[in-house]
Amino acid sequence: MSESLGLLPALPLLGFLILALSGGKLPKTVVALVGAGSIGLAFLVALNLALPIIADDSLIVRETLYTWMAVGSFEAQFGLTLDGLSTVMILVITGVGFLIHLYSTGFMADDPSYSRFFAIMNLFVASMLILVLADNLLLLYLGWEGVGLCSYLLIGFWYVDPKNGYAARKAFVTTRVGDTSMALGLLLLFTQLGSLDIQELMQAAVANWSVGSGLAIAATLLLLGGAVGKSAQLPLQTWLPDAMAGPTPISALIHAATMVTAGVYLVARTHVLFELAPSVQLLVACIGLATLLLAGFTAMTQHDIKRILAYSTISQIGYMFLGLGVGAWSASVFHLMTHAFFKALLFLAAGTVILSLHHEHDIFKMGGKRRQLPIAFASFLIGSLALAAFPFTSGYFSKDEILLAALEFETYGTWLWLGGVIGAVLTGFYSFRLVFVVFFGGSNGHHDAREVTGFSMAAPLFVLMLLALVGGFLTQPTAAVFGAHGQAGEHTVSAALHAVMIAAPLLGMLASYLVYGIGLIAPDTILRSGVARGLHTFWFSGWGFDWVYQRVFVAPFLWLARLNKHDIFDSVVSLLVRLTETANELLARSQTGSLRWYVLSVVGGMVVVLLATDLGGLL
């Protein structure tokens, strides 16, 4: 049993090594077999590991593979831990990951860099598994960075287009801001508590820090910085929409189902620390709320099918942060899981649509694809229902729990709840806007749409549809991890409020139906008023964050870089260089190429040395 814990990240890593070292020489079938097969095997291993833990959620499997590094008193083990929380994570990562890999074997079939794709995907899964299985924060950080690297490689997968490279760079640099914050947090924790082992750390924190102590606030703030960066929350959310430059399965795997949830996982994993800093916890909730509203408004105005989904991802993770902020750890993780199902489903379906329309991304150039793309339509419908938290779909249960927890939160609980409900209205609106625009109405001129789907692409969609529908009934073994108070208990909420929560997404859907479904109010008429137009532009640009960042960070940085083009500090070094060069020029004069001159100088030097020693001896 314990051996198989190490096997879990080892399998995708092995797949990566095989694919990377073969240098793209393997035939495609073998690549697909290795790439998807390694994840499939990992899923079986994960299932085997998870079953006992699902049965008894207090079970914790620990395995120390070897001592990673030992410096002085510091010792970092390459140790893996499997508890309830990581069980959920590994099942999501390997399960959804496998489905996406399977889908990719069909989706990427014509790509010349087939092998490279699966190699990086496997590495990504391996990193993510290390991240969630790590028993100390340093190892977690390794997985964290591995995930960041892979996302960089995958966003820039089609690197021939400089735009994609720029998007990859943007994602990398933005998350780097968060990563730096997290690294600082790790250093602070280590210097203060003397350990990075998560269990020890939590115990030490509880023992040493009082609730609301400055150190706890500082540490959690720094960790939160990391989480915000990786999970694309305010104010570091700008990279995610651009990250849609990669192939669609990548968006599904990284930017919806797994990687962005790393921040959620980090906060959930260190929830003990956050409980010690209630103010930071409140901040988490506020960030989540702000992000989900912001992303929701933005998603309403977008034209690009993948950008809409990207903003919806940001929004949904905002919900998770909201849940984390109000202490509903278990609900957040639950939402993480259901979100993985329906967001993977939506992205994969979007991939099918995009592929069938020859890489057309603009939803207003689609339209009426209901009949041509039945599977995609079904997927979208189910995915959107789950996304909008339609009653009894998976998203309903998880979102409901988060909102209820928010309502119960002592500080500003009502406001948080209200914001969440407004977000739900927005979710309903933009998700069905997508469905109506793409699948209903007349065909907007785009021709020959054929659903290019074989078994490898269709099967994951069906499985995910099922999961998106009934995923809400799955139970999670996280009770032991979060303790009693993090658990979604029996909520005592009035039926009226419940009705509001159920009605909110339906309201959004209805509005969407009115505008886009039957065209009762044409979008153009709304946009005719100046205020609406301005708002639309403002939202379309993602609340101007990119614009602000461009002005506040990028432009000054570029200005500084231009200013320092010739590197002022370098002049000190180049002085040395110039000195050396001058000396060299002078000495090079002596290098005449004449043998006789060389011999003469050797003998002359000999004479000088001998004379010096002779005279020295005489003196």
């Binding site: 003469l600 003998v603 002359g604 000999m606 004479v607 001998l610 004379l611 002779d614």
Partner: protein
């Protein structure tokens, strides 16, 4: 035997001097052979007949023959002798000679100072003693020498190949 030493030494010095002032390569080579033979005589007078004859066989008889052989291949004519003379105006000798005289001026007094003490009687060290030494403690040096010769053989073949 000491007469032989001084005669040989004198001939060696004179003929060596003649080597470096010659303008004709062939004449210089002849003087060099003479100088080497004179050194061989010096060896003989020092009780080292084996190396004396090796000096004659290898140095004078083989190495210098190679030189002569190359000179024949180059077949330098009168023009090169004139050129040689043009390259050697008296002034080019001044600096080297001064330097070397300074060196000798420092070296020779020290030589005479250090070694004037002991003079062992003449003992001939024959072939057998040298061979025993050579294939006893110095056998590794012999192997190295053979390596060196092999390397020289290969590189000379390679370099001189067209």
């Amino acid at each position: 035997m000491s007469e032989l030493f001084y005669a040989g030494g004198l001939i060696a010095i004179v003929s060596t001097l003649l080597v470096i002032v010659q303008s004709n390569v062939v004449h210089a080579l002849i003087y060099l052979v003479l100088s080497l033979l004179a050194v061989a005589v010096v060896f003989f007078s020092l009780g080292a007949p084996f190396v004396a004859l090796l000096e004659a066989i290898v140095y004078a008889g083989a190495i210098m023959v190679l030189f002569l052989f190359v000179v024949m291949m180059l077949n330098l004519g009168q023009a090169s002798r004139d050129q040689e003379r043009a390259w050697l105006p008296p002034r080019v000798w001044i600096v080297p000679c001064t330097l070397v005289l300074v060196l000798l001026g420092m070296l020779l007094p020290q030589i005479f100072e250090i070694a004037a003490v002991t003079n062992s009687p003449f003992v001939e060290v024959g072939v057998k003693a040298v061979s025993a030494e050579l294939f006893g403690p110095y056998v590794l040096a012999v192997e190295l020498g053979s390596f060196l010769l092999l390397a020289g053989l290969i590189s000379a073949y390679h370099i001189a190949k067209r």
